[in-house]
């Protein structure tokens, strides 16, 4: 990851319309953003689409960035795109099934066509969407608790508590799963 001064220079170049600077931002953030989308959707195709979408949004909205933490700003867009995707899929699911789905459903964030490749996807799938999202924002966005709290518009104590409970719950799921596997 580049230092803040370098990042600010690149962002300023982007705001001046420098195509090369946009490519640099893609190089810097594509892995972390892809990781964030992939861990939450569990689907390569969807993650690729969301990755394209966020960078297009980045170009369209770059002038609205007025300083501060660029990572926080970028992952706020990522979070909005992820929830838009969930809402879209929720409507789609309702249309197809004719059933009422719950956005906070524990399995909601994993796509039905998921191509799960490791156990982390499996563990995250057992957490509610909000908890899984906050853990992935913290991990892939490398965001501090302060930045996370600002991004989510909630008190920092609430964010701290949610992350703590989420990580503890995930470890419990991992331990239970390992114990279950060793029994088999």
């Amino acid at each position: 990851m580049v230092d803040n001064n370098e990042l600010n220079r690149i962002v300023k170049s982007c705001q001046k319309g420098d195509n090369e600077a946009f490519s640099e931002l893609v190089d810097i953030f594509s892995t972390s953003l892809y990781g964030y989308f992939y861990r939450l959707t569990g689907n390569t195709e969807t993650s690729n689409d969301l990755l394209s979408e966020i960078f297009i949004k980045l170009v369209q909205k770059i002038d609205t960035f007025k300083g501060g933490s660029f990572k926080k700003w970028l992952f706020t867009i990522a979070s909005n795109i992820f929830y838009d995707f969930l809402r879209f899929r929720y409507r789609q699911k309702n249309l197809i099934d004719g059933k009422t789905a719950t956005l906070g459903d524990s399995q909601q964030h994993i796509d039905s066509t998921s191509d799960l490749k490791d156990e982390l996807d499996h563990y995250l799938a057992k957490l509610d969407t909000d908890t899984a999202e906050i853990l992935m924002l913290r991990f892939y966005g490398e965001l501090s608790f302060k930045e996370l709290a600002e991004l989510r518009s909630e008190p920092i104590g609430t964010t701290l508590s949610k992350v703590h409970r989420g990580l503890k719950k995930m470890r419990k799921i991992m331990e239970d799963d390992n114990a279950h596997q060793s029994l088999n």
């Binding site: 990851m1 982007c14 319309g17 195509n19 946009f22 490519s23 893609v26 190089d27 594509s30 892995t31 972390s32 892809y34 990781g35 992939y38 861990r39 993650s47 690729n48 990755l51 394209s52 960078f55 297009i56 980045l58 170009v59 369209q60 490749k117 490791d118 156990e119 982390l120 853990l135 913290r138 991990f139 892939y140 490398e142 965001l143 501090s144 608790f145 930045e147 920092i156 104590g157 701290l160 508590s161 992350v163 703590h164 989420g166 990580l167 503890k168 995930m170 470890r171 991992m174």
Partner: protein, 167 residues
């Protein structure tokens, strides 16, 4: 991946008792390590290249849109400036009716004079009349000059006739 160099203990001290802090910090630390132990999903390089191409196209589109917007704004400002200038000219003309038209008259600009204010046309007409009168007066002066010469001749003739009687 997580690398924000945050001092969790310091942050926890703001919300929890000292007795709880170590336990919570350990939970967070272990959780972070558990996530970090899994492979980092990476996008296909071809996908990244596609994204870069899309971003470049969008950036160019945005740039040209920005340029078009600036052009429209400039044209609008120019149009407003022309309209404002026209408005100012009208006001000035109303305040001082013999502006450019007057100059056109003095410089003999007939093209401009054709579009002049009717009041100026009236003045022009009157000036023409004065000019004609002056010409008439001048012509009359010549006539008058001729008459005086005749008178002089008549006077001389009369004087000469009287002189004959004296011998």
């Amino acid at each position: 991946m997580k690398n924000n160099n945050e001092n969790i203990n310091e942050l926890l001290a703001r919300f929890y008792d000292q007795a709880e802090i170590d336990g919570i910090a350990e939970d967070i630390n272990k959780g972070d390590k558990a996530i970090a132990s899994f492979a980092l999903p990476k996008p296909d390089p071809a996908v990244v290249e596609t994204v870069k191409a899309k971003v470049s196209a969008e950036a160019s589109r945005r740039k040209s849109k920005k340029f078009t917007n600036i052009s429209y704004k400039t044209a609008l400002v120019a149009m407003l400036a022309v309209l404002a200038f026209g408005g100012i000219r009208t006001i000035v003309h109303q305040a001082a009716p013999y502006g450019d038209s007057e100059l056109a008259f003095f410089w003999g600009d007939t093209a401009s004079a054709g579009t002049v204010d009717p009041r100026l046309a009236l003045i022009n007409e009157q000036l023409d009349e004065i000019e004609m009168s002056l010409e008439l007066v001048a012509a009359e002066k010549v006539v008058s000059d001729d008459d005086s010469a005749i008178d002089e001749l008549e006077t001389e003739l009369l004087l000469d006739t009287k002189s004959i009687w004296r011998g």
